[in-house]
């Protein structure tokens, strides 16, 4: 009974929710990328690799130029370039998108450590100074609101950017002509092509956007949350983002709710020792929840109709 009341007590602390929102954003950015890419019909399991690449090049740039904004730009571009590889391989060469995604993830894991070794020698990459991190910003006025001020308005700058991007992606996907085109290409590319939409351009754009967003997440991880690069530092977040995308039924806000649930779980076991279950067992929950969702117990979750199918002009 005490354990339960401890958890309930924990759930009303603002600190916990502040950490949960930050953890959720780390998942939300690649999840939004996944939503955009898969809505256009390109399966993307490569967010993990794009994020890792972004994290690495963000740290390299920050150590070189001592400017977190520039470094974030580099991280975003690095993520985008990895996505470009995925796009070229799966759109131009019509490769199997899952194999390509796996290859991206393996490539990122390998090349980042390889480059750490080439650039910095065998030892550690080094740490980014406090002044070179992406800053936390307290929104004037709003930050003083009890509870919500701390949770929503005393956050890292990337958190605000991510929440704006969330709304933006939702509006673009469901309220604009471009969004209609993206979804049309993902559901029925032949019909979209007939209607004069350039399927390839839309798909390239969507996949590259997923890389830009994942790269930003990588920057947040490496020079926002942490202050260095360690091998494989994304630790499966790209895959949890994938889970969140499915959990959220390929919608931005659905994915966001899933990210919040996963982020809350992470915050609960990261911040506190009062929960007596093993943190490792708790870590399984996002994946088990996703399996339950996939099993159809909480409603079906169906991908876009043309997801994963390379487009060949003139085909049935």
């Amino acid at each position: 009974m005490t354990a339960l009341s401890d958890i309930l007590h924990l759930l009303i602390t603002a600190n916990l929710w502040q950490a949960a929102v930050a953890a959720a954003v780390l998942l939300l950015l690649p999840a939004l990328g996944g939503v955009i890419s898969e809505r256009s019909g390109v399966v993307n399991i490569a967010m993990e690799g794009m994020m890792l690449t972004g994290a690495f090049f963000g740290v390299v740039a920050d150590l070189a130029w001592h400017n977190p904004w520039l470094a974030t730009g580099v991280a975003i571009i690095a993520g985008g370039l990895m996505a470009l590889v995925h796009a070229v391989v799966s759109i131009r060469f019509r490769a199997d998108q899952i194999v390509s995604g796996i290859a991206i993830n393996i490539f990122a894991a390998g090349i980042t450590v390889f480059l750490v070794n080439r650039i910095y020698g065998i030892q550690d990459i080094g740490h980014v100074g406090q002044s070179e991190l992406l800053p936390n910003i307290n929104v004037p006025g709003l930050a003083q609101i009890p509870f919500f001020g701390m949770v929503l308005f005393q956050q890292n700058v990337v958190v605000y950017a991510a929440l704006i991007l969330l709304v933006l992606v939702h509006i673009v996907l469901f309220r604009t002509r471009l969004g209609l085109r993206i979804r049309a290409v993902g559901e029925h590319p032949q019909a979209a092509d007939t209607a004069g939409i350039n399927v390839y351009v839309i798909r390239y754009g969507a996949v590259i956007t997923s890389g830009l967003l994942s790269g930003l997440a990588g920057a947040f991880l490496a020079i926002g949350v942490s202050n260095t690069f360690v091998p494989n530092m994304t630790g499966g977040r790209g895959y949890i983002a994938l889970a969140a995308m499915i959990f959220g039924k390929w919608t931005p806000f659905g994915a966001f709710i899933a990210c919040l649930i996963f982020g809350l779980g992470e915050a609960i076991y990261a911040n506190n020792s009062i929960i007596h279950a093993s943190p490792y067992l708790l870590s399984m929950l996002p994946y088990i929840l996703t399996l339950i969702v996939l099993a159809g117990i909480v409603g079906r979750s169906n991908p876009p109709a043309a997801d994963g199918i390379p487009y060949v002009p003139g085909s049935e």
Binding site: A95, I106, G110, I111, F114, N117, G236, L291
Partner: protein
């Protein structure tokens, strides 16, 4: 085609080394020495290097089969890693629990236990695919992470932990161990080193038998016919009276059993306990490259396993001798995957005048279904369905 992909990967990998200021020839010399024991300059023992390569090769064959079999049914098993971990956890748990039993009883128990655990792990994906159509790629990824966290739980604070503060399990009983091929004898000198140094173990024969069973199952049994029929066209298979659902579930169960066996053999033959080394194990992902590079045939899988086993064994020598990070091996592996998947070589060939392409191929019914179908392998041309 597979050979071309490997050459492509080595050329691009060499360029990456050269661009970053390294000497690709030294790097590859280190790989060849470490992997094949040829041309060593720093006093490495060639026999020991070959032994190491074979140790890496053993789980690659079995997990390679575990990826290749579902490919034939149009299923993409990314979960070989999780299934392998499930097998190694079951093997260790049984080996600890019944540590006093003699080998003739305990050894079959741990190996079969590993197979059952792996089969259950993959079975989740199979059942979800067959009943509600949940994509096996996603479900097997989720099961991979469930396995990884379960492993951490078991050996850090969980029931299998050796002692507080350690991140490894208790050792399995002596009866749960596979014999090494060479006698475990310090006084016997073979190729200049005591025989006990060579870790190559009898799991090699289990892996080779697994590859043979895979080939027999696929080409000589009714189930194999059904698997191939489902992979070619689910609709046609259904008209032919094949239960597609049953075939999908059975295929995943068998694949999981192969992966679980790989994990159990690794514990029984090499490690004898679970350690944090398994947190970063990538065998199940390497297996995807093995299955693709081996074109889904048993012989091809053994050859591809040899390549990746040699790359893994060679990576550490490359790092110590040439100063090139062993992570270059991952880069090479990714490049091989890109090259196979995208058929870069075919594209390059098309650029040559006079060999320009004919009409574009129509899209596959499902992208993965076509990957390993007979049509793709029989013409030996490209892994793209026609």
């Amino acid at each position: 085609m597979p050979l071309g992909s490997v050459v492509f990967a080595f050329v691009v990998g060499g360029l990456i080394v050269a661009v970053t200021g390294g000497n690709p020839f030294n790097a590859y010399a280190g790989l060849v020495c470490g992997g094949l024991g040829i041309g060593c300059t720093q006093g490495e023992n060639p026999a020991l290097q070959i032994s190491n390569t074979i140790v890496f090769l053993i789980p690659l064959i079995t997990t390679g089969v575990a990826v290749a079999l579902p490919f034939r049914a149009g299923l993409f098993n990314i979960g070989a890693e999780g299934q392998l971990l499930a097998g190694s956890m079951a093997c260790t748990a049984i080996g600890i629990k019944f540590s006093t039993l003699p080998a003739p009883v305990l050894l079959p128990m741990v190996l079969i236990g590993g197979m059952v655990a792996g089969a259950l792990w993959a079975g989740v994906a199979g059942v979800l695919k067959a009943t509600v159509g949940a994509h096996e790629v996603v479900t097997t990824i989720m099961m991979n992470y469930v396995a990884q966290w379960l492993l951490r739980y078991l050996i850090i604070g969980g029931p299998l932990q050796l002692a507080a503060g350690t991140s490894k399990s208790l050792p399995t009983g002596p009866g749960a161990r596979l014999a090494t091929i060479l006698p475990d004898d310090n006084s016997l000198i073979i190729f200049g080193l005591p025989a006990s140094v060579y870790r190559v173990h009898t799991g090699l024969f289990i892996a080779l038998v697994a590859a043979a069973v895979f080939a027999f199952l696929l080409w000589r049994t009714t189930l194999g016919y059904e698997i191939r029929a489902v992979g070619q066209s689910q609709r046609a298979a259904r008209y032919a009276g094949v239960s597609v659902r049953r075939t999908i579930i059975v295929t995943m169960l068998i694949a999981g059993a192969f992966s679980g066996l790989a994990g159990a053999v690794q514990i029984a033959g090499v490690d004898h306990n679970l350690t944090d080394k398994y947190f970063s194990d990538t065998t199940g992902f390497d297996a995807i490259a093995v299955a693709l590079l081996g074109l889904g045939s048993a012989f091809g899988i053994v050859l591809a396993s040899l390549l990746f086993g040699a790359l893994h064994a060679g990576g550490s020598v490359m790092q110590s001798d040439a100063g090139i990070s062993s992570n270059l091996v991952l880069v090479l592996q990714a490049l091989i995957l890109f090259s196979i998947a995208a058929n870069f070589l075919g594209a390059i060939r098309q650029l040559i005048p006079g060999l320009r392409r004919g009409p574009a191929a129509p899209p596959p019914e499902t992208p993965t279904a076509g990957l390993m179908t007979e049509a793709a392998t029989n013409n030996g041309e490209r892994i793209k369905p026609t």
